[in-house]
């Protein structure tokens, strides 16, 4: 009896937030799903139910190509970012003894500033007449500017890896910080040198952080269009750019909705499979 009352009071308090969030997400998604089954003629919507847009997604090769490229770029970016971030998180967790907070702030500060500007900074760096090229030219190391730097999938990966670094560092740091130091001492006492100790204790126990980091980077970057637009060039365009165009120049909203749905479903499926696989693998460490 009392418990129910407490739950009711709790939910009442939670209700404004819950209502806003659920409305803010469910309603838009519901209608986006609906629109994806429509057709658009100029500025009118033909609301008869049709799978035509989804058919286009599967039939027209460009969409699959963009989807695969987006997944590949996101995947590469995720791997690079997590690999680069792990040692950094490890350093702060285990080798910083004073002023840890300062380090944490330092690591995450760049992330909380304008995303647009950070991508733009890389455009400046990687550009034809940009920092790297003019610098190398000035030093006499190259004659012609390096072309592959900008307007390529590589540029997108580098820029994204830089922009999302903080999202990788924080979850990994938190899970490393939680590891009881006496477990590390126990492993050492039982015979582990530094490497074996890392593989046997530190890495397995930091796995939740790694999983969180990979998802936190992979999912948002799949849908990024700013970075490809600024530094991707024609070969670096991702699916999100196309979706944006559907709502802009191309003016085919149902198509855009269908593509957005396709992207979301693909990402959700991949994430679920990923979590399932890692759970199984983690369970086998016995």
């Amino acid at each position: 009896m009392f418990l129910r009352s407490e739950a009711i009071r709790g939910y009442t308090l939670l209700s404004p937030t819950l209502v806003v969030m659920m409305f803010g997400m469910c309603a838009p998604f519901a209608i986006m799903v609906a629109v994806s089954f429509w057709t658009q003629h100029a500025f009118d919507f033909d609301t008869t139910f049709t799978l035509g847009r989804y058919q286009d997604v599967i039939d027209k090769p460009i969409y699959m190509a963009l989807m695969l490229r987006s997944l590949a770029i996101s995947g590469a970016c995720t791997v690079v970012t997590v690999l680069l971030a792990y040692p950094m998180a490890y350093y702060v967790a285990f080798h910083v003894h004073r002023h840890k907070l300062i380090w944490i702030i330092l690591m995450t500060l760049p992330f909380w500033t304008s995303y647009l500007l950070r991508v733009f900074a890389w455009k400046v760096i990687l550009g034809f007449n940009g920092v790297i090229n003019s610098g190398l030219k000035g030093l006499g190391l190259i004659e012609q500017p390096l072309e592959f730097l900008l307007y390529s999938p590589t540029a997108v990966v580098i820029t994204l890896a830089h922009a999302w670094a903080a999202f990788a560092i924080l979850p990994i740091y938190v899970s490393l910080e939680k590891i009881d130091r006496s477990l590390l001492e126990a492993a050492t006492d039982l015979g582990d040198g530094p490497v074996k100790r890392f593989l046997g204790v530190t890495l397995p126990l930091s796995l939740p952080g790694i999983i969180a980091a990979t998802l936190l980077i992979f999912i948002p970057t799949v849908g990024d269009y700013v970075t490809p637009a600024l530094v991707g060039g024609p070969s670096g365009i991702m699916l999100a750019n196309n979706i944006q165009a559907q709502f802009g120049k191309v003016n085919d909203w149902p198509m855009g909705a269908a593509l957005a749905m396709a992207m979301m479903i693909t990402v959700a499926v991949i994430s679920v499979v990923y979590i399932w696989v890692t759970r199984k693998a983690a369970g086998r460490i016995v």
Binding site: T188, D189, L190, L205
Partner: protein, 367 residues
């Protein structure tokens, strides 16, 4: 299994953490097969000393030798020691078997031998069949045994135990104490045991080092510590003790005569150099070495009259506090029953006589 009398040697070992001196010039020699305890209040340096033996801290000065080998350049994973941690440090991501077998991969055993040893150690700590359980499914006492098994399965030459029984409730703790002692005797290796519980240290150990403020105050067997403490600090830490100021009147060979406050003229064994004619000393006597009665003692023992103040009932015995004229604090007397020789219980405020034997008095230097 070695009975080397100088199996572990510490010479001049100190540890400084910045300005803080955690361990101050410790010199110890520990035999093989000995159950040796480090006893003291928290902050006395006993855990730091243990960690230096394990290799997790390195001494600021001094040397540690184990089995004739210097340990200064030897990292923890290469030392012939294994440790049972205070919080057990059971790996949460591995089950019990994997925990116990964790260190065995370095011993180059066949799979069959590995399994056999793990089974053996599970039997030894009375946890057969617990192999597939995980850390969160175990109680505190069970985790403690797994930690023990994990350390012992590697057959180290020295087992280091960091207050392993501290988190257990009293009954379980006493059970485990007996089991630990039996285990040590059957395995035969050196145990170094850190505790702040003096009863525990006295029960389990062959010898105890009483520590305070980083120094070793006295290193001796439990009997010696109890009956012949060398200072007020040690005497006070181990069990209960009555302290009375006194002045030495004369010394005759092994006997001294003293004038003690409140007790009057007493005789005691002259144990050390500080017992000189005219010196101020402290007379110390254990509560159970004092006897209480309504009459003055008739067998020639020293006695003194006092007034009974309060009694603390402890179940199997009582501590009776008697005020004696001239004594600063009431004397504590341990008695089985609070009765006079006529069978009547002694009442508060009644006049009583306390008596003792000369050999029961211990002389200690003034603090």
């Amino acid at each position: 299994m070695s009975n080397n009398d100088a199996f572990i040697i510490l010479t001049g070992v100190s540890k400084h953490f910045g300005p803080v001196v955690a361990v101050d010039d410790i010199n110890l020699t520990i035999s093989g097969g000995e159950f040796f305890s480090l006893l003291g209040p928290s902050g006395c340096g006993k855990t730091t000393l243990l960690r230096m033996l394990a290799g997790f801290e390195s001494p600021t000065s001094g040397e540690i030798f184990i089995d004739d080998a210097p340990m200064s350049e030897v990292p923890p994973y290469q030392r012939p020691t294994n440790m049972v941690f205070q919080n057990y440090a059971i790996f949460p991501h591995l089950n019990v078997r994997a925990n116990i077998g964790y260190g065995l991969r370095y011993d180059k055993l066949s799979k069959a031998e590995l399994d056999r040893r793990i089974d053996e150690s599970l039997e030894m700590v009375k946890l057969p069949g617990f192999g597939t359980r995980r850390s969160e499914e175990l109680s505190g006492g069970q985790r403690q045994r797994v930690a023990l098994a994990r350390a012992l399965v590697k057959r180290p030459k020295v087992l280091l135990l960091d207050e392993p029984l501290g988190a257990l409730d009293k009954k379980l703790r006493e059970e485990m104490q007996l089991e630990l002692r039996a285990l040590q005797e059957s395995v035969g290796i050196t145990f170094i045991f850190v505790t702040h519980d003096q009863e525990e240290a006295l029960t389990l150990s062959d010898r105890v080092a009483v520590m305070a403020r980083g120094k070793a105050l006295q290193v001796a067997s439990p009997q010696q510590l109890y009956n012949c403490p060398v200072s007020i600090e040690v005497a006070d830490f181990i069990g209960q003790m009555n302290f009375i100021d006194a002045r030495v009147i004369e010394v005759e060979g092994e006997r001294a005569v003293l004038e003690a406050r409140g007790l009057g003229r007493v005789r005691a064994v002259a144990s050390a150099d500080f017992v000189r004619q005219g010196a101020q000393v402290v007379v110390a006597v254990r509560p159970e070495k004092l006897s209480l009665s309504y009459e003055s003692s008739s067998d020639g023992r020293c006695s003194v009259q006092g007034e009974m103040k309060t009694a603390a009932y402890l179940g199997d015995r009582s501590h009776i506090y008697v005020t004696v004229d001239g004594c600063e604090k009431p004397l504590s007397v341990a008695a089985q029953e609070v009765e006079s020789s006529s069978g009547q219980p002694i009442e508060r405020g009644s006049e009583v006589w306390i008596s003792w034997a000369d050999e029961s008095l211990v002389l200690l230097p003034v603090a």
